[in-house]
């Protein structure tokens, strides 16, 4: 009788029922919502988050402050910029104003003092006085607004009026469209493809990393609870390792399924709506197939490594020294994402997508965003599959040799010796 399904089911059930699983399943979407909606919510709370800046206008141009305020926008309405300007009315001596305002800035009544010197219209220099360096970050919009005011003032001096001015100052937007699409297609499909592609890549990365580490923890748990020896009297280490790796993946997929069902339910109930211009037409079965294949192989590759690390160590702390290099291998493609997204068929993208440890994420990015040649896709899959097979063998050996060692976790040297030893 094959014991693998037995181990798998048992591992799966224990994990799915665990408090950690239930909590993370419930908290996941809440966290995701908080991350995606949080900043917007925070930013919309104007009165509290708004910065107040006292402006000492020494430029000698009476209309400058009004223009500046117009550019910054009203914090109650505009929301985004969130900066309120006030005009200092008590004489334009900088020194005396600063002396008076310093305590006000110190106690937080004002976030800064903006000094516009008489030379502003000529040189474009202004100064923001504050009590801490955060002004460098939040005062960005002030700098932008000052720049636009400067242009306006100069154009005004050439006799161009406000409505013409607005036309002159109009910005341009570049929309990327797929050349192969017919004209009736929705607008912005390329941006959407980039966004959805990015979400999928990120998902792939998260799943590989999270479930891989989960199978490591599951092995360590068996070792610390010492149940592992009882298990080994019934099943081979290989079955135990495989059971854990498969179960960890199933647990993760279950979590995704639950989230999917919740999301579909919420959308169905109209409690939550997808962006109107969401265009998922590029998510063809081929893309999903690629996603599934790269997830499966990528996960197996790293889960084997993580499971072997679990067997080598007796606690998650012990595991860190071995875990780090493996985790770095998972992270590297994410660091190169920008480069690959800009040029999905460039030499960096091609090389990295053919290195098996980077293939899952790299090749998938290329498939999602570019159109890599078929031979490269097939070659990368073959290389990856071969590496998975090799890794399963190597890590399986490490697992068998170290699963019953309860002492200090071995050094790298000992691990190498273990790999070389005959079994």
């Amino acid at each position: 009788m094959n014991k693998l399904p037995l181990v798998m089911i048992s591992e799966y059930l224990v994990r799915v029922r665990s408090r950690a699983f239930i909590i993370s399943t419930l908290l996941g979407p809440i966290l995701l919502l908080a991350i995606s909606l949080g900043p917007a919510l925070l930013a919309s709370r104007t009165s509290e988050g708004a910065r107040t800046v006292m402006v000492i206008d020494d430029s000698g141009d009476s209309g400058l402050f009004t223009s500046l305020q117009g550019e910054i926008g009203d914090p109650q309405v505009g929301g985004e910029r969130n900066i309120r300007l006030q005009l200092w009315g008590e004489g334009n001596s900088l020194d005396s104003a600063l002396t008076q305002l310093a305590p006000e800035v110190g106690n937080g009544n004002y976030d800064g003092v903006l000094y516009i010197p008489p030379s502003f219209l000529q040189k474009g220099d202004a100064t923001l006085y504050g009590s801490n360096p955060s002004g460098v970050v939040w005062a960005d919009p002030v700098e932008d607004a000052l720049g636009r005011v400067l242009i306006q003032e100069h154009l005004k001096s050439y006799g161009i009026d406000k409505s013409e001015l607005d036309r002159v100052m109009m910005g341009a937007n570049l929309h990327a469209e797929d050349i192969a699409r017919d004209k009736t297609g929705k607008k912005g499909s390329m941006e959407m493809r980039l966004a959805v592609g990015f979400v999928l890549v990120f998902l792939l990365y998260m799943m590989i990393l999270a479930y891989g580490i989960q199978s490591m923890n599951s092995v360590i748990e068996d070792k610390t609870s010492r149940v592992v020896e009882v298990m080994l009297a019934s099943v081979t280490p290989t079955v135990l390792m495989a059971g854990k790796i498969v179960a960890s993946a199933l647990v993760g997929l279950t979590q995704f399924a639950i989230w999917g069902i919740i999301a579909t339910g919420l959308i169905g109930q109209g409690l939550f709506s997808l962006p109107a211009n969401l265009d998922l037409s590029f998510l063809t079965p081929a893309i999903w197939l690629a996603f599934a294949a790269f997830f499966l192989l990528g996960y197996l590759l790293f889960a084997c490594l993580y499971a072997a690390i679990g067997a080598l160590c007796n606690s998650t702390q012990d595991a860190q020294q071995f875990q780090m290099p493996v985790t770095i291998l998972v992270v590297i493609p994410m660091l190169l994402l920008q480069v690959v997204m800009q040029n999905p068929n460039g030499s960096i993208a091609v090389v990295f997508s053919l290195i098996p440890v980077f293939t899952p994420i790299m090749m998938f990015v290329r498939i999602a965003l570019g159109n890599p040649p078929l031979w490269q896709i097939i070659l990368s899959l073959v290389l990856l599959a071969a590496t998975v097979g090799f890794m399963a063998k190597v890590t399986g050996k490490l697992f068998r040799l170290s699963i019953l060692s309860f002492g200090k976790s071995p050094s790298w040297k000992q691990v190498v010796r273990m790999l070389r030893s005959p079994e």
């Binding site: 009788m1 014991k3 037995l6 181990v7 048992s10 224990v14 029922r17 665990s18 748990e221 068996d222 609870s225 010492r226 149940v227 592992v228 020896e229 009882v230 298990m231 080994l232 009297a233 019934s234 099943v235 081979t236 019953l404 309860f406 079994e423």
Partner: protein, 301 residues
């Protein structure tokens, strides 16, 4: 009778350490067989090879006349020295799982689980998670896990270490039952007194090599009755200059006397009554712990 288990020239090394260095062992069916030796003698390694957890570098292991493989393992129950349970599993589920892993069908596993849990007074905790149980209860669950598959042979590695007295008694009952059912118990211990009480066969191992094996009675038979315990009224020098005395050792208010070869206990007694008052005088064959030391010494020579 044909042996249930046979080890033939089994060797196993870890790196440069020879944990088991050429062991032959034959365990008769229905025996309670003790593997005895000091810590580090190779007991656990031997046992792990019997469970197919370690593969011998050399030699052969036969179970029930056949090769020891994945199928044979289903007929061997194992209670390791380092015992553990899945903390997040429920009690009944856990023992059913262990039974299933040994090839017991689900329905039968459940039926047996209920019987055993009831017998050990754990039926009301059947759906508790194992880490909610007291240590003593966890030990009971581990016993059940070992025997629920009704294996032909049960292997117990240092089974009494860490057990509370109630569970020591319980485990001894279980061992008796297994023997009564004609099945075999193999257990390892470094506590010789335990082995003396429980085993009918023993295997002494030291430094990975067999020192001695066979029926406990036969082994002990081979030793003369040369251990004497005496209590009474003596001076320390009372035992000096007695021809029969080889060595003496004080143990509380009694003296442990080892007789010289060729003398019998009576020779000592006759001399002692002349020299002082004898309250208690008991002669016996040496205890297993002493036999072990003597045999190890002899094998070194």
């Amino acid at each position: 009778m044909d042996p249930i288990l046979q080890l033939l020239g089994v060797k196993r090394s870890f790196g440069s350490i020879r944990a088991v260095d050429g062991v032959d062992l034959s365990v008769p069916r229905g025996a309670i067989y003790g593997i005895l030796g000091p810590n580090g003698a190779g007991k656990t390694t031997t046992i792990r090879m019997i469970l197919n957890i370690y593969i011998p570098d050399e030699g052969k292991i036969l179970f029930d006349g056949g090769r020891l493989d994945r199928h044979a393992i289903n007929h061997i129950g194992y209670l390791p020295e380092e015992r553990g349970l899945y903390k997040r599993m429920r009690v009944e589920e856990h023992v059913v799982y262990l039974a299933r892993l040994k090839g017991v069908p689900t329905a039968e596993a459940k039926r047996r689980a209920r019987l055993w849990l009831e017998r050990f007074g754990l039926d009301d905790r059947a759906s508790a998670k194992t880490d909610e149980l007291s240590k003593g209860m966890q030990q009971k669950v581990q016993f059940i896990g070992t025997v629920i598959s009704e294996p032909q042979m049960v292997v117990l590695d240092e089974p009494f270490s860490g057990l509370d007295p109630i569970n020591v008694k319980l485990l001894r009952e279980i061992i008796e039952e297994i023997r009564a059912a004609g099945r075999t118990v193999l257990f390892s211990t470094h506590v010789m007194e335990q082995a003396e009480q429980i085993c009918d066969h023993i295997f002494l191992i030291n430094d990975g090599r067999k020192v001695l094996d066979g029926k406990l009675e036969d082994i002990v038979e081979n030793y003369p009755v040369d251990n004497v315990r005496v209590s009474g009224e003596f001076e320390a020098q009372t035992f000096e200059n007695i021809a029969a005395v080889d060595s003496t050792k004080r143990n509380g208010n009694e003296m442990l006397v080892r007789l010289k070869d060729g003398f019998v206990a009576q020779d000592l007694l006759l001399e002692l009554v002349k020299r002082g008052r004898v309250d208690r005088f008991a002669a016996a064959r040496p205890p297993l712990s002493e036999i072990f030391i003597r045999e190890v010494e002899r094998s070194r020579e």
